[in-house]
Symmetry: D3
Subunit: 249 residues, 6 copies
């Protein structure tokens, strides 16, 4: 999908999420795959998920700052396991509010990173308003970063494709798998990254099962003859923008 | 998207259309691209479009058989120009009726051709009921051809991806461009194929303009920095099934 | 909406319905309005509604032929009250099956009547499959009648606008009022036509209330200052095809 | 939901499916629950799934009649395990064609069984056309059975609520969980019924995992305080018709 | 729907509305039913509707404070008639703006009331932006109140089911009746509550007619044999979250 | 659509857009048509499009104020060519933020202009967030201006119909042509207005082609017999509110 004559630098991936754990459960396979190809992956976590996704720590009586610290540590270890860098914007969760200032910070990151691909939440989630807020800002910032007239440092952005990763309750979030990504070869890495999130142990098997189920669908949509392994693992994504390609496949 | 160890045979494309001219206007670029890569392309035309899309010939007083002959000749020349083979099922148009017998004929073609990719009409068209009827049978036959228990000659089919090509009035047919295919390098071939359809000269420029407009969108979705030529030509497609891939792009 | 230089003949309206009573409840106002302007209105009733909409007569022990006769008489009186002609195709209801033969009969009516406007059921009704079947055939026949190559007597048809009238349970039929027609000046006529359907007396007030409610919406969408009467009566319609106009209004 | 003064007979459930195995994977919990309450459950299998869902048997070289026999035996054992009766209409699968004759047979079953509740497939399934065909007939027959004028033996039907059970790839079938049924107390029975379908062993764990995931959603939608067991099993359903109730809950 | 061993306290209902009159027209039946069962019902009115829904008072030259007082009195009398308590947040209408502060006030109410059921507006209303703003905050606050990490007094909330009540122009607000509630036995109470709103007398009959129409639909969806009274009154609701149940019905 | 006895003043049109050029490309034909009938047309431009739609000027090193000046001049010349007045609110683009203050300014304009018709952007545009922000405020202000209780000078507004004009990538913006306006007789004027926007010369032909394509659709939906000229030009619109009419057409 490139028309460049000159050798392009390795592609860069930008992952924008609401909370510290989102990138592991939902996009850990895609991140590990990109890293395994030698690409750079940067994760922008808008919050630590300190209020909305840390029930166990609150019940244990931990303070806000302690909880942030725990979440940061876990996320950094998970990112390192996957081969990615993680940045925290510490914008405060539950609720995460979409603001021009936060969007502007994201514009700066886009212009710095120059991602060739962007991953974020889908725009609907009746169970967690932080997710759509993050997605809204991720999309808005991407458009602003494309405009030469927008006052932020760095070069203007191209139009990198965007992928929405799968939410926890896909059917309630208008989420339909439009892209099934084969993550079989990096699944062990994703599992290790999940295990860095020790407070959410009940999700390790849940997302392993999900990866198997998406793998079954992947095989069903790829035909029986492709030599896929017996257990195939998958991740599902949606595209808010059309795919641009030089070959139908 | 292949896990095969053994060298795969060249991919085969199957195009299933209602009328003799559809493949030229709507998918001529994709066909020419595949042929230019050395792939085999087979077009199954369910009818000649003898009643519904030959108004000029009827006004000139031609007979039904004469009109079929003209349409067949034009379509064969256009297919040859694109580098494809065309087969006519002569099922009768306006209305084209979806029947088990015709669907069974398509199952036979699927099993014979073993397509790696399928192109057909979208499932909605309030201006022409033949198009959805053709699409319905194309999809049903693809599923039947996958079942070992379905009694038809040939090997069972895998699950080739399906692409819906763009209808004449896309917004009225629930058609949203999900894939924008860059056909710049074969556009001259597509134009020559269109010019084989001499009775519909008014559509030559119409579909050239459409290709330019889809090219503009293609550039807008690919970013300004990709080295795309000043005039890029495109074709738009939809996917009724999820894309299966080993890399997000 | 006409560019004709020559004086056009009075516009003709074609109403295609599944059962004998449908045109009264759902489109009586539009029919009476057209008739009051001196236009010709023809109603094609595909069935008498003898099985599905005549529960009272069946409970009274009437025979099939008696019931058909009763329904025919009532519908003819209602049509005469509205100023329209009614034709019965007697295709059998519950279920009314969409067939090529019945569609062909409708093509003949289209070519004979040359309607400038078409009214029929919407395409979805989970409570009554006859309604979508009638609508499907009404739309298919309209497209076939436009093709010079379709073998039926009469001149080819133009592209008259189509309006779907309101079903009994609009929200369950994907029915959204897109056009609110002011029927205040003919409402008394519609009420008289409803009263011709003596077996369904419980619906007289129901559809009077509906007309008032649609009238309230009509006023709300037309602004408070238009001099509309205190009680405005309305009917709601949908458009499956775009409106063509020379002035936005 | 009953206003009856007289003691009502135990409620009866009618399950209408395309293939012999569908009722186990998709509605086994609902069936076992109803049976455990002493209600009558009747399953109408339109086909044995002999062509489309018996790949293993075909690969083993079994004949059509042998395969039908195997499927019948398995389904009967599974139904007995769940506490239900199963009837086979042997209409032929892949493709299962919706016909007036088959619909009429279903009308007869509705009038005989007088179900208080109906379960069937959803109306969309791009992977298997037999499922929508079965659902279409199930819904049409239910409406016809309500009409006193429809010529079939037995009393006319009321308007029993309909539930669509979950298809294999819910997101591709416009399936959104509208009702989450707690099947924890009968899950062991459902598992035993699944194990009657020995040719599809790979699905036992798949549908056990699905039941767990629906159980997680059930708990998330029911709140943390309801005393639900650690592992809750669920099944998901949709309602094509509005729920009628005397109390919001 | 409860697994509790211990006797539960009587269920509590929370109704969140934009304006002082909304709860009467749209949910008066549900409120009266709950109260008649001995349950507690609390209505949180975000505004008095002093600017957007008090046209008559403004035309009579009343002051803003006078109008607020009138609306408060009327609403309190209507609530008392229904058996409910009403609280006013006086946030200012036309426009009602969704703010974090107002959302936080609602979190406090959720934690205090611990509702077992929540009623509010649907999320779309092209005729009145205050309604979606209220609904947005009602849903956001419910999610925040569930998080132990959210800093507000009171116990964390479970996941009470939410019901959207019917807007004035349902078809324009994507409102489809998903639940039809039989309010026949309390309709006289609802009528009396409506009559407390003396400035909007034209709506008394309008909403009586609506209740009859929803009652007709209720009967049609419940079957003819349920012993429902000749005139059944109903209210329609939607569910933004799945129903959780132990029995399909 | 008027019931007025007294002669009405000439109708007034209000066009609300995000950027200085939008009204030319998207609604120039409707504006010129209204002006040619002697009606008043006022364009409210919320911004000059100085950051998001002036890439060429930024690349040439122009300052923000210079760019605003250029855009203002071009827009004023284009408006004059079409026969309309343009007002600039200079709210700042990329991003244009929807605020109560800006909405209030629009209320004032509505009350002053008393438009009989309103044109604005559709509510969805994944390529440009300014467009939905402008549309959101245009719709909100229209509703507020209707309320006598809203504190702004001028008479309260009626309920003028609203039309959404066509965005640059219609299929990605949920844009379906619901109204096709014949602009053939003023197309030369629209072309001249487009040519006032000298920095965007590449769009002159693009929007000429679009007008031709919409003209082809217009003819296809109007039938072959209407005496439309060989080349018909059209513009497409959507209606967010129902059409109110005294005659179906």
């Amino acid at each position: 999908m490139t028309h460049d004559q000159a050798p392009a630098p390795p592609r860069s991936t930008l992952v924008i999420t609401a909370h510290a754990g989102d990138f592991v459960w939902r996009a850990g396979g895609a991140i590990a795959l990109a890293a395994s190809r030698g690409e750079r992956v940067t994760i922008a976590c808008l919050t630590y998920g300190e209020r909305g996704e840390s029930a166990k720590a609150w019940r244990e009586g931990k303070s806000l700052e302690e909880i942030k610290g725990i979440r940061r540590d876990e996320a950094e270890r998970a990112a390192a396991t996957l081969g990615a860098e993680v940045r925290f914007l510490d914008a405060g969760d539950y609720p995460l509010l979409a603001t021009p200032e936060l969007t502007d910070q994201l514009v700066g990151i886009y212009r710095e990173i120059q991602p060739g691909i962007v991953l974020t939440h889908p725009l609907t989630d009746p169970y967690n308003g932080d997710h759509p807020a993050a997605a809204r800002m991720a999309l808005d910032a991407r458009v602003l970063a494309q405009a030469i007239g927008y006052p932020a440092p760095g070069d203007v952005l191209g139009a990198p494709p965007v992928f929405f990763f799968e939410p926890h309750q896909p059917e309630m979030c208008d989420f339909t798998p439009e892209v099934l990504l084969d993550i079989t070869e990096v699944f062990e890495t994703k599992r290790k990254a999940m295990e860095c999130l020790s407070a959410q142990q009940h999700l390790w098997d849940y997302y392993t099962d999900l990866a198997k189920r998406r793998g079954v669908q992947l095989k069903r949509n790829a035909g029986p003859n492709l030599g896929l392994p017996h257990t195939t693992y998958g991740e599902a994504y949606m595209r808010p923008y059309p795919q641009v390609t030089e070959e139908l496949a």
